[in-house]
Amino acid sequence: MSLPPTTQPGSAVDPAGYLSIRGLVKDFDGYKAVNNISLDIAKGEIFALLGSSGCGKSTLLRMLAGFETPTAGSIVLNGRDLSTMPPYERPMNMMFQSYALFPHLTVWDNIAFGLRRAKMPRDEIAAQVDAMLKLVQLGKFAQRKPHQLSGGQQQRVALARSLAKKPQLLLLDEPLGALDKKLREETQIELVNIIENVGVTCVMVTHDQEEAMTMASRLAVMSEGRFLQVGAPGDIYETPATRFVADFIGNVNLMEGTLSDDQVDHVIIDCADCRHYVGHGITGTEGMAVTVALRPEKIRIGRDLLPPQDGEPEGGLNRVQGTVKDLSYFGSFTVYHLALASGMVLKISASNTERHRADELTWGDSAWASWSPDAHVVLTA
């Protein structure tokens, strides 16, 4: 089922959310970095803007923060129109990609910086700074300067500093970009815990799908200044709206075909190498050109052709034979590249659930791939 590539308001929240963006445009001398974006975010949500570099996500974030002025459109936070407010007056704070810790100030002074600008009384500042240090577990490092901290510690200071003023909206710019893989995994969970603990609404920008999907409750896939799809990570992964989104998130096999049998409860699609039996109806007409998207982990591979399972029809549907052209071993799973008759290569991901299998597939082997009727996503865009 394909969805038209328009923007969507959040599904189960107020039509006007806690953060409400309408028709936002940023035009740089004719080049529209942000092209008519509208979005609603509920209070307490962690929302991710996902896209590759140049898609406009950073520009959008900077407009929220106030470092760029929108060419058109409005930004309303908790009922207040912020579109023309300078950054130092906005009730939101940002955690920068490079952390941007003030090198000439101690950790304590860095966190206190924003509170001092707000002219809080001295004892209140002290109490809040100590609370923040406790939150990120850096109490012992209060008097150190940024260059005396490791990368992970610097990030925690940056987080504490951005939460110190209890902002209505927290903006994260590629929060885990500077960390190495192991640290990234640990920090992802920690970061989400702290944010949910504090209960602050959060918009984050990232080019890393894993980061977006693990951390966010909803995300938007962005390209060329527009939203391609907005939804929960699971929705976007399992039901991408367009070819682009399907290909962008995770790995996918895309097969062109024609709709040959259109029924209410199932359809059959003819492709060059195989025929697909899709276990639900779609809106379309027979003879229509469609694309079938199949995720590698939804395909079973084996030397022998497996008999159809429950609910699967007879007749050679949803299965194809090919030669193992290549395989990549990732430890916990292996990705097989199966060359089909038409020349197309099918990517199949199989968990290595057993330690040493006697009949492991290897290069040049002939193998059968098969999948169930609900494994497909049919795309018309």
């Binding site: 923060a65 106030g66 470092f67 300078p86 950054p87 130092y88 007056e89 704070n93 940002m94 920068f96 990609q97 490079s98 941007a100 003030f102 090198p103 000439h104 910086f113 924003g114 600008r117 707000a118 150190r144 300067k145 260059h147 005396q148 901290l149 490791s150 990368g151 510690q153 500093r161 951005s162 003023k165």
Partner: protein
Amino acid sequence: MKGSAFNRWFGAGWMTMGFVFLYLPILALVVFSFNDSPVPNLWRGFTLKWYSALAADDEMISAFMLSMKVAFFTACASLVLGTLAAFALVKYSRFSGRTLFSGMVNAPLVMPEVIVGLSLLLMLVSVQRALGFPERGSLTIWMGHLLLGMAYATVVIQARLKELNPQLEEAAMDLGARPWQVFTLVTLPMISQSLMSAWLLTFTLSLDDVVLSAFLSGPGSTTLPLVIFSRARLGLNPTVNAVATMIVVVVAIGVVLASYFIARAERNRTLEIAQANRA
């Protein structure tokens, strides 16, 4: 390439010869300031009489005081104008007339001083004819030195400003600092070292300037370099050696101390960073 023995020896040799070339005159100046002979080149014995002659040399002393005064004000004003110009060039990448501005800021660095001096003088004379002000004197000398000093200050400050992470200033604004506060609380502390070196550089330049001072000075306003220059034109003069030695000693102490402290701070910093990353 690194590591080749020939390269290392050749390099060390070349640099040594280069340093000998650079320091030979300074050494000669110092040595012959203690020479008991009116002709500096023939060594006749050790004496301090040229230094005591200096103490009684009113012309030299008043010239020195004037030079110090002008140099001080030149350095301060160059710092202000240089910081403004550096900001203009680094922060605002597009404004009308930027090419002309950039050209004017950089030109005094290389323009022969006779041209700068002459043109500035002619302008000041025309202005004086029309408005009756300013008279040639320490004020006009200051104006000329400021032109040169501003160019040098801009180069030094601009180099440092370019290196700054722009996200630091954005972070400050994000946390509620207004533009002026961003400048005083974040930018200024971070460029403070370059401000210091710009000040010292322009101070030295002003103290040492001959041509601009010659064009722009008036009756009663003679700078130290002008006094030295007129004496040097006439021939070799041991009192000049004495002045030179004093300047060399002051500068050497200053430069060595500064380098020592900077190097030590750098070393400590690197140590701290290494410790943090091991923790």
